[in-house]
Amino acid sequence: MSDTPFVIAGRIFQSRLIIGTGKYPSHALMARAHEASGADMVTVAVRRVNISDRSRESLLDYIDTSRMFILPNTAGCYTADEAIRTARLGREAGLSNWVKLEVIGDERTLFPDNEALIEATQVLVREGFVVLPYTNDDPIACRKLQDAGAAAVMPLGAPIGSGLGIQNPNNIRIIRESARVPVIVDAGVGTASDAAIAMELGADGVLMNTAIAGAEDPVAMATAMRHAIIGGRLAYLSGRIPRKMYASASSPVEGMVGR
């Protein structure tokens, strides 16, 4: 089974799993989880340097940037302007013009403000950014983001950090069918089967943070996710059997002894 490579904006990624760098018990454990996950792209947040306390070691000391592509996000931004400003700073702090674009619309759900998101996407694309917007599972919003020049669309499976799994599989499937850019399920995954389901629906990749960082054993869960993504993708490509209401024997019905 030969799969097409996972390409975003002309860049090929070896893994269809993209993971975060937040909420880990320690930077050291994060590094081991990253290693175990097989991911070659990680998201990071852009925040003010802590002036008063310089002791804290740098996140980047624990990311092997030779094999990991860094994707700055605009998490926590509630307006297009905030997100644009943060994206620009992220570009300077890093070495790429990629951004995981978040414009949050509500504190409790952290669902996106699609209007502002589309607007910010248009601005950043004009400035030469490779924009990967976090949106909800709305096929129309995804189409508009694509039309605005997004390099991929990243519909949520469930609220960020909720671990509820893919709440509306039908929408993810529809988004995949109509999108011309990669579809990456971002947020909501809680365990391995959730990631496999996302891939079986046709998602090109899955982005997750809390499911791994918040597990009792992040390294083991990272390994679990690596397998789930590969397994789910292969299952999607393998042509699964149809669902039937009744049974169909897997052993021959003739040739029984004594009949």
Binding site: G20, T21, G22, K23, Y24, H27, M30, T43, V44, A45, V46, R47, R48, V49, I51, R54, S58, L59, L60, I70, P72, N73, A75, R85, R88, L89, G90, R91, E92, A93, G94, I160, G161, A187, L207, M208, N209, T210, A213
Partner: protein
Amino acid sequence: MQITLNGEPYELEQPLSLVALLDKLDIDARRVAIEHNLTIIKRHRFPEVVVGDGDQVEIVNFVGGG
């Protein structure tokens, strides 16, 4: 003289270049991005851009996020 550094008031004896400011703050220039009075300053311009009284400076870096 005083500037606003990452949202907080900060005292300076005299104007400083961004390089000098980072040096004073013991911050590795290669790991941060700087916004000076709402304008982003490219890293290669850190030596020439000078921070003076009343300026607003934002110094950011990458932290863990999802």
